[in-house]
Amino acid sequence: MAAMGRREFFKSSIGAAAALSAVSTRRSVASTDKVILGVMGVGGRGTQLAGWFAQMPDVEVAYLCDVNERRFDRALEMVETSQGKTPELVKDFRRILDDKNVDVLVNATLDHWHALGSILACQAGKDVYVEKPLSHCIWEGRKMIEAARKYERVVQVGTQTRSSAYVQKGIEYIKAGNLGEIHLVRVNNFMEKPGRKKGPVEPVPDGLDWDMWCGPAPLVPYSPGQWWMDLWDFSTGSIANEIVHQLDLARMLVGIGYPTSVYQAGGVHFFHDGREIPDTQLATFEFGDLTLMMEAAIWTPYIKKIPHSIRDSDNFPNWPFTSTKVEICGSEGMMNFGRQGGGWQAYDKHGELVHSEPGRQGDPDHLRNFIDCVRERKTPAADMEEGHISTLFCHLANISYRVGHRKLKFDPQSHTFVGDEEANRFLKRDYRQPWVVPDKV
């Protein structure tokens, strides 16, 4: 993948949209057949996805998978009442991959399972819907792309706002020059998260396969509490898990691809709970004459996600206090863009509101796009490479932090840091046997 400026990338990504259609060797799903899928990981998001897919008349959820059997009941009820058929419950996702009748694996696991689960699914001939952030480290993100391309799989990443109609309208507005020359993009994510609360070490509870839960990550003693979210071994971090959506959106809007440098400031400023991953992050990425600023914190109670009453309406949020937004700053105007619906609004150089475009959340269209692409063997809206690039921003920011807030230069061609061996050590993580992402996929 060659390094390229943003305008070149923009043109290139449009060209790639049609490329997949000729290459798949897998049987197409007949128009009368249902797309059969299995869901790996039925936590909150996985259950939501399972329910939505089960409501689609041309989809059948055949499997629900989780290493913790306590999670099954809610997902099972949702799927069965939606599709009128009971899925099989399994604790090992490989049962799904072994079933020749299954077309798709939906991977809604924790970050440290995204890569291996998706790669194995590609190898087994399944298309994949994988939640964001795509990968747990830069190297495995590339391996995921390699696997998808090698096995000619349709892989959609869960950056669902890509499929919202108001995003395209934003792109057209910007491309038409209404904001002038774009030189600054600010990507925000502010939230109020609870602190980590790790319980004492306890015996592994009944019904939980702890070894598999840890999977590629180190096998640690079991403790209750959601302590894993901000540890490098298990997660890309609370900030990355959210801001990847806005980064993806920002890239779409202004047409930027691989960053070539990063500088991160911030750290663990607020929480004193043993976390490793920053709770405050400011990172800059350079694209020639455009700078992208990533600004995030997870201890800001006064800044809220877009209210649910606004997300799918013709109203707009209170922008200064909106948690998940992108600001596009041009020489002639600026745009506030909401990630969870909420639409976008553009202002002229005098600060006057000149255009408002209401938004709708992208989930239904995103899932529909994926299923259609599975049938038609086309590149979906959030192809794996797009997901990889957007996730890359988060990895770069994290690595800049881990090497002591150093400005790093990144070569997209080789996917390495230029002249920085310490940073390069963070490209790939260690894997615990047997859950190893292979060099050769």
Binding site: G44, F72, R74, L76, K193, G199, P205, Q226, K305
Partner: protein, 375 residues
């Protein structure tokens, strides 16, 4: 079918209500008394026809009144009432309630007041310590951490999950425009309330045989609204867990010398798995326990908690009042905690520790609720 007597002052009206889980209350009368110094008061009397009302398993009695011939109804707040007839009633028989301050309620005429007196069977949980969030063999608590030993003041909890019949009765008062109703409630395997008519005059009836089943497809907001209607509230997680396991001392403290033999039990009945030895102790996943979907409340009476509360494990997962997360989910508040597992849960999901999180708007065939009360 039980009958309840409504009394418009001076006029007796017999009113049949099709509810099953309300306690047997009849002979409701009301009269106005003027006191020499205290102003007027209404004396409400009724007969409570239940044999097993005790201080440990009392009735919770609440009164709703109407001053516009039944068009609208309101709950009489407990702090306006006195007498042994409400809110906690510790024995059956003839009871009296005194309603003070009626001049402030603006009745056009005292003769136009109608009353509804209802009762719910409760269980008393004494104040004292209990073991929270830990079981032998491993407790799974993915969302919360707490001290192993906690303490609560005394409170009361409904013996049973809120039943279809009770909720239908509630809907017939408040649900004329559809509020509180979910079309999936007509599913006879999971709920069993039918809606007829049209807005603003919908009416609701219990489908045959469904009276004693737990109501489902209720959001957290629906549950809170129903319990507000009764003058109750959702239990906190701590209250729920103490009800499930029992206190360290069943009668509150060590002085009464009733130690809980299993203060860290995994299940309300002890540590045996729900289906151990082919004996089924609650309604969980599968049909071997006799129920493919929800079961009538109190279907496993011999496996209740130490206090005699039924179905804390299985049947329907129960909303609590507690939040899991912060308020950054604006206008939907935070995610709520749900406890107890349901008729779909594996045994591991039915234990003292397991909990689920849910957005408060979720309405599901596996979720219900019960009420709690404290002075």
């Amino acid at each position: 079918m039980r009958r309840s007597l409504f009394f418009i002052l001076g006029i007796l009206t017999v009113y049949e209500i099709s509810y099953a889980q309300w306690l047997g209350i009849s002979g409701v009368t009301a009269s106005l008394e003027k006191t020499e110094l205290g102003g007027p008061r209404i004396v409400i009397e009724y007969d409570l026809h239940e044999d097993e009302i005790t201080p440990e398993s009392p009735a919770y009695v609440f009164v709703r009144f109407s001053k516009d011939s039944g068009a609208t109804w309101s709950l009489i707040p407990h702090n306006y009432l006195s007498g042994q007839g409400s809110p906690i009633v510790e024995s059956g028989g003839h009871k009296g309630i005194l309603w003070w301050g009626i001049e402030e309620t603006g009745f056009p005429s005292i003769d136009q007041i109608q009353f509804q007196v209802r009762g719910i069977r409760m269980v008393r949980i004494p104040a004292g310590e209990f073991t929270m969030k830990s079981t032998p063999g491993g407790g799974y608590d993915s969302k919360r951490i707490g001290n192993r030993v906690s303490s609560l003041p005394g409170f009361y909890m409904a013996k049973c999950e809120t039943a279809v019949s009770m909720y239908a009765d509630y809907l017939n008062e408040v649900g004329g425009n559809g509020a509180g109703w979910n079309s999936q409630m007509s599913d006879t395997l999971r709920c069993g309330i039918e809606q007829t008519g049209s807005s603003p005059a919908y009416s609701y009836k219990v489908m045959p045989g469904r009276e004693n089943y737990p109501v489902t497809f209720v959001s957290w907001y629906d549950a809170v609204a129903f319990l507000d209607w009764c003058g109750l509230h959702l239990p906190s997680e701590a209250q729920w867990e103490k009800a499930y396991r029992g206190g360290r001392f069943l009668e509150g403290d060590s002085l009464k010398q009733q130690p809980n033999p299993l203060p860290e039990r995994k299940f309300p009945w002890g540590n045996e798995s729900p289906g151990e030895g082919e004996v089924f102790r609650c309604n969980g996943r599968g049909e071997e326990d006799g129920f493919a979907h929800t079961a009538p409340v109190e279907s496993f009476p011999e496996y209740s908690s130490t206090y005699g509360i039924c179905d804390l494990a299985g049947n329907v997962a129960e909303w609590t009042i507690d939040w899991y997360t912060t308020t950054y989910h604006v206008d939907l508040d935070g995610i709520r905690m749900v406890r107890g597992g349901s008729w779909r849960s594996f045994p591991s999901g039915l234990d003292a520790i397991s909990g689920a999180t849910s957005l408060p708007l979720r309405e599901s065939g596996i979720m219900g609720f019960r009420g709690a009360f404290e002075f």
